[in-house]
């Protein structure tokens, strides 16, 4: 008798299972087709660091004070800057990040007194080997500024720069590379 009831209840449970899967079959797809579609990455996602810039002038906030490089426990930041003619502060001219050493500890971002660096939300970093060993963040800053329709600040030619229009209301430069 036990066998009979077990057979019946087992068969019914199989039907329940089939019912569940057929419901899933006719439900919409929930996966993201990665190369064609991408998810929006959360703001607080910690990617590699990148240079922030002044929204109005397009100038990087960085004054090449080297505090971030000193704060970095892995020594992965090397930067340099000059004092452009006619300016009061120094400006970054080269900012190299060795991302293979970086542990994304965020100490550089916390140490920066000028709010000049932030974490990017770049996550799809697959590339040829060792291209992460030397990330040129000044180049990245120039590309990002160009993408939002502004002229990147050139510290070597300060006379040409003040042509930046303060009226431009470009969206926040959070675009993915």
């Amino acid at each position: 008798m036990n066998l009979v009831t077990e057979t019946f209840s087992g068969f019914l449970s199989l039907l329940t299972g089939l019912q569940i899967t057929i419901k899933e079959f006719f439900s919409p797809i929930i996966t993201t087709q990665y190369p064609h579609q991408t998810l929006t990455i959360a703001k607080k996602f910690r990617g590699h660091i990148e240079l922030k810039w002044n929204e109005e002038t397009g100038k990087p906030n960085c004054t090449s004070c080297n505090i971030c490089a000193k704060a970095c426990p892995s020594d992965c930041i090397v930067l340099d800057g000059i004092k452009p003619a006619g300016e009061k502060t120094k400006t970054v001219t080269s900012y190299h990040l060795n991302y293979t050493l970086c542990s994304l500890c965020s100490l550089c971002v916390e140490a920066c007194p000028f709010d000049a660096i932030q974490h990017s939300n770049r996550y799809n970093l697959a590339s040829v080997p060792n291209s992460w060993a030397d990330m040129d963040l000044v180049q990245r800053y120039k590309d990002q500024v160009t993408r939002v329709g502004k002229t990147p600040y050139d510290p070597y030619a300060p006379a040409a720069v003040p042509a930046v229009e303060p009226t431009a209301t470009a969206p926040a430069p959070t675009a993915q590379p």
Binding site: L14, G17, L18, T21, F25, I29
Partner: protein, 369 residues
């Protein structure tokens, strides 16, 4: 010119040859197309059951995936492992793909679409269908691989266990229909869907009027047993103990690469096609529409178009069963081996013996109504 060639080919001494060649090519093409595109159906189905899209990249909706896979498999070197029995090793893939091809010769797809109208078609299909087991066993044995041998042993015990209830329920069908001719079995199920064997067994309306008690009171259960045994015979999940990739690498196919493996893969789907076609014929009325006898006679009066519609009904039922096979695969986990044998020996065989007994009693009882 063309007309005279057509006339020459369709006159009798040559027509037999031409017809055989046409059916040969047609069946080979049908099996190849099904084996290729059922893999696509399987992968799409697997995707949808897990709420992902399945293959999408090659061709529209991934439709070029099967040819791509086929070309990849064909481009690979065929290698037999050292120390294996080469003859048996290469005989196994041939033996596994040939029986479904032969079986399809006796399957009536429509009222005129039938390669060979054998009066023992059912027997032929089952006897050739059993060779599948033998081929898997040989492949496993000849591979000189411990996983393959375990798989071969499993295949044999599993298929012995499931052949018995399958043949028992088929005997009940033969007792009710009184024939082994598949076309004859389909013709008996003409009329509405209540005349299909799955329902006719309970209450038979075919005599007209209120009808009378059918031959096989447990006909739906019989269908279920046949279906479960078909899954087990074709080594499909949840009964894929022979392949069991989580335990046995790939079971009997472990040492096969390239198209050697591809042939086993194709044979699995060809066997599913044969099994589902047989289930359709035996229980679901084959190419009969099931929409009542008026519609049936209308179809036969339409000639070729009627035949095509009949084939369409056959394929609709067959592919629904094939879809349910995929559905079951992506619903249930693999059973354990003792569970598999317990199901057969403790549940399916007693029930099928019971249906056999019940059928013979009801057939011999005087008609009460």
């Amino acid at each position: 010119m063309i007309e005279s060639i057509f006339k020459f080919l369709t006159t009798e001494p040559y027509w037999t040859l031409v017809r055989s060649l046409l059916y040969l090519g047609g069946i080979c093409g049908f099996v190849a197309a099904n084996a290729a595109y059922l893999v696509w159906v399987e992968r799409k189905g697997a995707g949808r059951f897990q709420r992902r899209p399945g293959p999408t990249e090659s061709g529209w909706a991934g439709l070029l995936q099967p040819p791509a896979d086929g070309i990849k498999l064909l481009a690979k070197q065929l290698m037999a492992p050292p120390g294996s029995d080469k003859i048996l090793f290469w005989a196994a893939p041939l033996m596994v793909i040939a029986p479904p091809l032969v079986c399809l010769a006796a399957i009536p797809f429509g009222d005129n679409v039938l390669a060979r109208d054998l009066n023992i078609g059912l027997l032929m299909v089952f006897s050739f269908g059993s060779i599948n087991v033998m081929a898997l066993m040989l492949g496993g044995w000849a591979s000189r691989n411990k996983y393959a041998i375990i798989s071969a042993a499993r295949v044999v015990s599993q298929n012995v266990a499931y052949e018995i209830p399958m043949l028992l329920v088929v005997i009940t069908i033969i007792m009710v229909t009184g024939t082994m001719n598949l076309q004859e079995i389909i013709l008996q199920q003409a009329g509405g869907f209540w005349n299909w064997n799955i329902l006719r067994g309970i209450w038979d309306f075919s005599g007209g009027g209120w009808g009378h008690i059918g031959g096989n009171l447990l006909a739906p259960v019989t269908f279920l047993i046949f279906y479960i045994c078909m899954l087990a015979e074709t080594n499909r999940a949840p009964f894929d103990m022979a392949e069991a990739e989580s335990e046995l690498v790939a079971g009997a196919f472990t040492e096969y690469g390239g198209m050697g493996f591809g042939v086993f893969f194709m044979a699995e789907y060809a066997n599913i096609v044969v099994g589902c076609a047989l289930a359709t014929i035996l229980f679901l009325g084959g190419w009969q529409s099931g929409l009542g006898s008026g519609f049936g006679t209308l179809l036969t009066s339409w000639g070729v178009i009627g035949t095509v519609i009949g084939v369409g009904f056959f394929f609709a039922k067959m592919y629904f069963l094939i879809f349910s096979v995929v559905w079951i695969r992506w619903t249930f986990p693999r059973t354990q081996f003792y569970g598999l044998l317990n199901l057969s020996w403790k549940i399916l065989i007693p029930i099928s013996l019971l249906t056999l007994l019940l059928t013979s009693v009801t057939l011999k009882l005087p008609r009460l109504f």
